[in-house]
């Protein structure tokens, strides 16, 4: 039987054998060697690490992954069908490879650039690895070692981009055991505004491993609406790190919706580094059968007068297992911090499990911080009320579950996106009926 650390070898071989994007860049080569060294030392995270107490990568460590997909394509119609939005810029990555054919990047607004990582690496030296620490998490090191595709988006100062960008990552399922390592870089200059949706979707029930790192830089007064929808196949492992640094007066709205994958782990982190920086960090996880979903969030209030609002909701059914660990750190001089964190869970079965752990570390003395965590079931009074109005039990449960879930979406300002998410959630809910 393989040990966790054995995993290093095949990945290292791949790094040596495979022609990785940006191989001609000396700085990148150096970075990759550092990452390899780090991954050799740390390996995959193990359950003895506090941050991985409830999530095991043992099964992942036992799989042999392929890093080169069989050639595979989908039709434009299929692509439209799985996309969340129709009227948007679209960057399409199929089985880990950028698809120029399916991407819609014509008529880009002045001040906006969108390029695939594979051809944009030379522009991002100053950003790669700035938001994530490869020293800390083995998976980030692995991503740094093997990152081969992704999207680089920059917005110039004073540019308001009104058309949303959908990063559509499709796993066709035609290559079993496919591993893809993506790196997205999003940089917003002063007074700029952008909406991005990261959308991961599996089309067939293959085993796969997606390891994505998204790095976000928000300069002063920048505003980013950053949504994520994860609908990978039921045999997929989806691991994502989403990390931001926010300058003064910047606003990052992050909504992270996790529906698919057998195992999904999301680390969401922001550092509020300038006064009046504000973050809305929301999430929704719906899990059933044997699904495992883990959200680890961290918000660093590093300077005075910053604020954060965090709302994560979960609906669990069957034997699913969810983990929410939300850390808010108010640093020593971060007076007048205003932080609110909420995690609410609805359990629909006896076999499911939630481990909810709010953590607030407060080192300043003049702050307003609140947190709450609840676990509950369908409210019997509400259920009876709906049945007494003629709704059958399955429909009534479905309606109440949907109602519980969708208020996370209320904080998404764009109606078009809110409705698209609401529809996806409705289709996904565990109970039948309409």
């Amino acid at each position: 039987m393989k040990q966790l650390t054995d995993l290093v070898t095949p990945f290292a071989t791949i790094a040596a054998d495979k022609q990785l994007a940006g191989d001609d860049l000396a700085w990148l080569k150096k970075l990759r060697l550092q990452a390899l060294d780090q991954f050799n030392r740390a390996g995959l995270p193990a359950k003895k690490q506090e941050d991985w107490k409830y999530t095991s990568l043992w099964a992942l460590s036992q799989q042999d992954f392929i890093h080169q997909a069989n050639p595979s394509d989908i039709s434009a119609a299929q692509c439209d069908q799985v996309a969340l939005l129709q009227d948007s810029y679209r960057v399409v990555i199929i089985d880990g490879v950028y698809s120029a054919e399916h991407s819609q990047l014509t008529g880009l607004q002045t001040g906006l650039t969108i390029s695939p990582l594979s051809s944009g690496l030379d522009q991002v030296q100053s950003y790669i690895g700035q938001q994530v620490d490869i020293e800390k998490a083995g998976l980030n090191a692995l991503n740094t070692l093997l990152m081969n595709e992704g999207v680089v988006i920059t917005v110039d100062s004073d540019t308001q981009v009104l058309t949303p960008i959908e990063i559509l990552v499709i796993n066709t399922g035609s290559t079993n055991n496919l591993a893809i390592h993506l790196r997205n870089i999003i940089v917003l200059a002063d007074h700029s505004q952008l909406t991005v949706i990261e959308h991961y979707i599996g089309l067939a029930e293959s085993t796969s491993f997606t390891n994505v790192v998204s790095e976000v830089v928000l300069k002063e007064n920048a505003e980013l609406n950053h949504y994520k929808l994860q609908q990978e196949s039921s045999n997929a492992t989806h691991i994502a790190t989403l990390a931001a640094k926010q300058a003064a007066n910047s606003l990052w709205r992050s909504s992270n919706i996790s529906l698919g994958a057998k195992l999904a782990r999301n680390d969401v982190h922001t550092q509020l580094l300038g006064e009046q920086a504000h973050v809305v960090m929301d999430g929704l996880y719906l899990a059933d059968s044997e699904q495992h979903v883990d959200f680890h969030t961290r918000i660093d209030h590093a300077v005075p007068n910053t604020s954060s609002e965090e709302l994560f909701k979960g609906v669990l059914n069957d034997n699913s297992h969810a983990v929410f660990n939300g850390k808010v750190i108010v640093h020593k001089h971060a007076q007048k911090t205003d932080a609110n964190q909420q995690n609410h869970n609805l359990l629909l079965s006896r076999g499911c499990e939630i481990d909810s752990k709010p953590e607030m570390e407060i080192y300043a003395d003049d702050v307003k911080c609140a947190h709450g965590s609840t676990v509950g079931q369908i409210n019997e009074d509400q259920l009876f009320f709906l049945r007494a109005r003629g709704l059958d039990e399955a429909s009534a449960r479905n309606l109440l579950t949907h109602a519980f879930a969708v208020d996370v979406l209320d904080r998404i300002p764009a109606e078009q996106i809110r409705n698209a998410f609401s529809k996806v959630i409705e289709q996904h809910l565990p109970h039948g009926g309409s």
Binding site: R387, R389, G390, A396
Partner: protein, 253 residues
């Protein structure tokens, strides 16, 4: 319309109803009065189909069928309506969605197609007028942040839209100020018809000044201990429930 025969019911082994007998014919309005703990709400919950009660004896016949065998939603689809004493708030479900889903459930049972959006809205607007509710209430979560009076008006709005055959009004007057009471009563009175029966459950005689019943029953300790016309309610108001206990304890009529 409704026939309750020797109904006994208990919760967790504690007997709440101890042999209720009541016949309500089409077009009649009955008031059931009684002190706290007499079993009034239990009776209305059992008719509407709430789980958690053990029916130990007796039966409830509605339009010739055994009501107690039907799930709550089937009762509603067949025309039984309960106006709740404490209407529950359901954030995330809009009022208009509820109204539409409820109406379509009833229509489906009747073999009718769903109303289209325009016909539905026209219908709802006419009912809103009846209970003097603003259209903005349609787009709020069901009862979410509504005042006590607004919640009760919302119940009558649902009743007006669903046009039930049998409406049970459970303490619809509780928590209402005099103006709201008038609006709610006018709404109910407008729904009186020869095909519709109404059972009002109330603690106070006040409501009966506005919705005048054909029959008044006094429920005490799980039994109907006295029946009469609207004069009975006035007598009760004047003399208090203790009068019933003193004169009729244990002697159902």
């Amino acid at each position: 319309m409704l026939e309750i025969k020797n109904l006994h019911a208990s919760i967790d082994g504690k007997e709440i109803l101890r042999g209720i007998n009541l016949t309500v014919n089409a077009g009649e309005v009955h008031a059931i009065m009684g002190p706290n703990g007499s079993g009034k709400s239990t009776l209305s919950n059992i008719i509407a189909g709430r789980d958690g009660y053990d029916i130990t004896q007796g039966e409830v016949i509605y339009k010739g069928d055994n009501l107690l065998d039907m799930p709550a939603e089937v009762r509603a689809q067949r025309g039984v309506f309960l106006a709740f004493q404490y209407p529950v708030e359901i954030p995330g479900v809009s009022n208009i969605y509820l109204l539409k889903a409820a109406l379509n459930a009833v229509r489906k049972y009747q073999g009718l197609d769903d109303l289209d959006a325009i016909d539905f809205l026209t219908l709802v607007r006419s009912k809103l007028e009846l209970v003097q509710m603003d259209e903005q209430f349609l787009h709020r979560g069901v009862n979410e942040g509504f005042s006590g009076g607004e919640k009760k008006r919302n119940e009558i709005l649902q009743m007006a839209l669903l046009e039930p055959s049998l409406a049970i009004l459970d303490e619809t007057d509780s928590g209402l100020d005099i103006d709201a009471l008038k609006v709610v009563s006018e709404g109910v009175n407008a729904l009186r018809s020869p095909e519709r029966s109404i059972v009002m459950i109330t603690h106070y005689q006040r409501l009966l000044d506005y919705i005048v019943p054909d029959y008044v029953h006094v429920l005490s300790n799980g039994q109907i201990v006295k029946s009469g016309d609207k004069e009975l309610a006035k007598e009760l108001e004047a003399k208090g429930y203790s009068w019933i206990h003193d004169t009729a304890e244990g002697q159902p009529i």
